[in-house]
Chain length 598, copies 2
């Protein structure tokens, strides 16, 4: 059952591989005279041939006898080969492009396998959305393995999502072709506390002999971490301190060191390894969230490996962190993660070990990218209709939808305001006096305070939450987006109700996305028609659209880095201090709803 | 499905473990203040507590808060703890004792898990014999995981066994509780050649998501080895040269370095690691075949670890070779092989890292041995009746059964003689002139040449093979045994027909075993009533019986080391040069039957 991400399961082709290795049949492909990065023994071996047949490796060594008339031969003299890179944890939706286009962006950078946790689309479309992502993945040769999302909604009781995941859904998903492992178990406190529902999800995963992936961001290496790991969680990508990484590895937990577009702990936490003489077989590198600008500008796992090498990691070890180690984490090392006989022929070429730039990517024995470009087509996306139809607000949005009535006839009113901290996920709660006009509390451009409304958009519940937002720097206009973790309701922030309504309607019309409006004019629109989260345009095109949106935000006064990301987390009701969901303001220190006007 | 060797599957107890780690419930056992051999990071950590509940580890670190009134506490101050030792490849039948008694012998030496390949009993009793061994294993706390035998008979067409194993039997066994993985695939040449039957066995194993264990003794690291590994074989315990070990590890194959009672390649081949700066995660230590004298005198995996350390292996690495690495080999590292949360609480105590002497063994959280003695009972053996009834010769054996008629009236006849090489598995073919009396070719005590007869004993086929044997040193008498690899027919060797008949009948009467007869007197008898291979006496008692038999052999003139072992391989028709089965003499260089009188 574990063979389903390979072109052919090994049990169908052992005879052919044996015959090719023995010379009784000829190989389909032989790579000659390469410098092999051997991740099994952590060596560089010179002058190595690799013979391939049926998408798998038949022989590593001297492959002269495997070459026949029809055998394709690649002369790799002077070049390194390594196993294809594996990203053990990523959310494709965060790149706002489809899995197919994600594949097109990362394969030329040497990525041959990702373990994706599609919990964003699951919040919107439920398990059927996950299934649609798995289907999307089949457009490309990338081995896009899907975890089953575990925590949907992220914070039950505080928001309305499009779907809910519980033990029954997990049990069902574990039987799907395309699913391997449970997605990041964010409800770590519930796990530690012995919450029955969460432990039933863990049990369904373990019963299916699958791997549980983790999310343990707390700077704690004691009782809590032990409780979490003892519950069967095998890996974690949320370490913020070197000592957390060290203790996770000591406790037999794979430490997935993150270097995404925004969260980039790796250079700090890699010191767990650099500063200690330890066995590092539990170390991996992951991207988690990666934006189109990073994909198009820097790359993917190659970029992360280069960064690790720059920090002082031995290049062969850095390659182990994105090949053998993640494969072992998911108990898939018999299928991938090394250039050894029987494994899938997934491998990459490059010329400089200390500055790895991928020149060729092979998946299942086929050349799929060369010199930075895909060499095989990626089919057109074919998401089911429901995925393109996720804007279910249920009523017309007009400017008066954004009115916030002041309590009892006041002229100024003390208001609970969310103040963002640039480049940080956390925020502050502030109590600020705001002006009231005609009974309605107003935004305050002079003091950088916008109105913000979150509209439930999944089940036409008609619910919406109101708040105020400080720190984005806007002087005018409005912005809106349906990327709003994790429920992905529609969040609209602005300085006036007309622009806010205009922005909201622009998104409803295009099926979700991000936009900016000022003075009644739509300055920029990034349509994300798939679940309001993704588009099927290329990474380059998406990067262009986002840059245009960024320019509009800047023009309106917002100068912070990753502004859409900051906006996207305003609703995430599990990170301190104050968040706004479609149900209202949530105090994330006490996990209670709180009043806008205290 | 992979959890069946643990007291309770993890999915049943995650809540309890989490609560114990978090302090909400109390542990059943807490080990305090130990020096932990951390096989994950290859470190020694001082002052570590381990909290245990439900047979599994809940916490590793500071466990003070896990201790309640009913918690058992072990003060481990000054003591090391390490994961329980795993023997990744052993044949229990070779110790001639039952699995229960084997467990009683090895648990006090720190062994908590063995992967046994019961192909000896399978040759006699078929899959039902394997099932009986699995049942036998349940008498003790030892995790005795059984491989499904793959090559029964070892050499098809040259001998008659009690049973045959093919793809259908493998498919069936893969579904059994107690089976994990395919036993050593000795037919390596068939695998390399693409033999359909052998590849179907491999396919059935891979389809069941199980591990194929290997047997590749050839000093070859090229086409053949690649073909074999490409066929899905994950480990091999048959390396004879350091370069074989190195190349196996480089090819992603676990190198199980053997240090049994007789075959002891490890000190030589460990130089693959000692002489190269390589990642050694694919290195393991195994016993393969281990005799009662070794078990009672030296120990088991502890003995092998000590030997490795004496060769210069870092003790922590040597412990990885018998814990984490074999667990990973069988993709069981999420259950065992490390002292980390969630894993089975299988661990050992000792005082000196450089001279490891186990003082306490814990399995599934229970103390099962202390100071060299089991502290829990092992139930009485309860093999099914068929296992005690395996002597099916089908006729009375009389002295005239041993007569070898000379061809056409000669007085001396040139005869093909098997000459053993002391301490070697291989032997020589010799052509020697022998005397004839009354038309019968005679043994020749003066020149150290015995007569030898192999009786089919499984299906009353009435077949028997005749030959002559040189080099054992006997001056008189006869010896017989039903331990005769791999078919385990009855082999009888002697200087006269009367003693040979007496020896044969002694074994038939007691259900199989080994014996020595001289001048009509039974000098020694080792009854092996279970399949003619094993007894339910203790390792100590078996050692005593074998010593008595050895004394008899010596008295009769045989001075070689491991004489029973040498005798046991006379029938193994796959090792050069000349072997004798119940069907006759086999030339093992050409794999053809050959004539006694050329």
């Amino acid at each position: 059952m574990r063979n389903r991400f390979c072109k052919k399961p090994l049990y169908e082709v052992t005879r052919t591989l044996a015959k090719v290795a023995a010379g009784a049949e000829k190989a389909q492909l032989v790579i000659r005279n390469a410098k092999l990065v051997n991740v099994c023994t952590a060596e560089i071996q010179e002058g190595v041939d690799v013979a391939v047949s049926e998408g798998r490796i038949a022989l590593v060594g001297d492959g002269a006898h495997c070459i026949g008339e029809k055998t394709a031969v690649i002369d790799a003299s002077g070049q390194y080969i390594a196993p294809g890179f594996i990203d053990a944890h990523t959310h494709v939706e965060c790149s706002m492009i489809s899995v197919g286009e994600f594949a097109r962006a990362v394969i030329p950078h040497g990525t041959t396998c990702i373990f994706m946790d599609p919990h964003e689309i699951c919040n919107v479309c439920g398990p059927e959305g996950v299934k649609a992502m798995i289907g999307d993945a089949k457009r490309s040769p990338l081995k896009a393995v899907s975890n089953a999302p575990s925590c949907v909604p992220a914070v039950a009781g505080f928001e309305d999502t499009g779907s809910e995941i519980g033990p029954e859904e997990v049990r069902d998903m574990m039987t799907w072709d395309g699913i391997m492992g449970l997605g990041e178990m964010m409800s770590f406190q519930n796990v530690i506390d012995g919450d029955i529902r969460m432990h039933c999800e863990l049990a369904e995963t373990l019963r299916a002999d699958q791997v549980i992936t983790g999310h343990y961001p707390v700077p704690d290496t004691g009782a809590g971490l032990n409780a979490y790991i003892a519950s069967g969680v095998r890996c974690c990508h949320e370490s913020t301190r070197a000592e957390d990484v060290l203790e996770k590895m000591r406790h037999g937990m794979y430490a997935l060191m993150r270097y995404g577009s925004v969260w980039q702990e790796m250079p700090a936490i890699i010191h767990a390894i650099l500063d200690n003489q330890i066995d590092d077989r539990f170390a991996c590198l992951v991207s988690d969230d990666i934006q189109p600008a990073t994909l198009t500008g820097d790359g993917h796992m190659d970029h992360i490996v280069r960064r690790a090498v720059r920090e002082g990691v031995d290049p062969v070890k850095a390659i182990q962190y994105v090949t053998m180690n993640p494969a072992a984490c998911f108990r898939m090392d018999h299928e991938m993660g090394s250039i050894t006989p029987g494994k899938c022929a997934d491998l990459v070429f490059f010329n400089d070990l200390n500055n790895i730039r991928i020149t060729r990517t092979i998946i299942d024995g086929n050349i799929v990218a060369e010199q930075g470009k895909m060499t095989v087509p990626v089919e057109k996306a074919d998401y089911p209709a429901f995925a393109y139809n996720t804007m279910h607000v249920g009523y017309s949005i007009t400017p008066d939808c954004f009115g916030i009535a002041a309590p009892g006839g006041k002229e100024r009113v003390k208001t609970r305001v969310i103040e963002i901290i640039p480049d940080h996920l956390e925020n502050h709660e502030r109590l600020i006096d705001l002006n009231v006009r005609n009974g309605w509390v107003e935004a305050d451009p002079v003091n950088d305070i916008m109105k913000v409304t979150v509209f439930e958009r999944h089940h036409e519940t008609g619910t919406r939450g109101y708040g105020f937002l400080k720190g984005l720097g806007f002087r005018k206009g409005a912005v809106a987006q349906t990327v709003a973790h994790d429920a992905h309701n529609m969040i609209v922030a602005g300085m006036n109700d007309e622009d806010m309504a205009c922005a909201a309607n622009a998104l409803i019309e295009c099926g979700g996305g991000l936009c900016a409006v000022a003075d009644g004019t739509l300055l920029a629109l990034v349509p994300l028609p798939v679940a309001g989260l993704m588009s099927d345009v290329s990474a380059e095109r998406m990067d262009g659209l986002l840059q245009k949106l960024g320019d509009a935000w800047k023009e309106m006064g917002c100068a912070i880095r990753s502004p859409f990301m900051t906006m996207a987390y305003i609703s995430l009701a599990c990170v301190p201090e104050l968040r706004l969901t479609n149900r209202g303001l949530v105090d994330c220190r006490t996990f209670r709803f709180t009043d806008l006007f205290p």
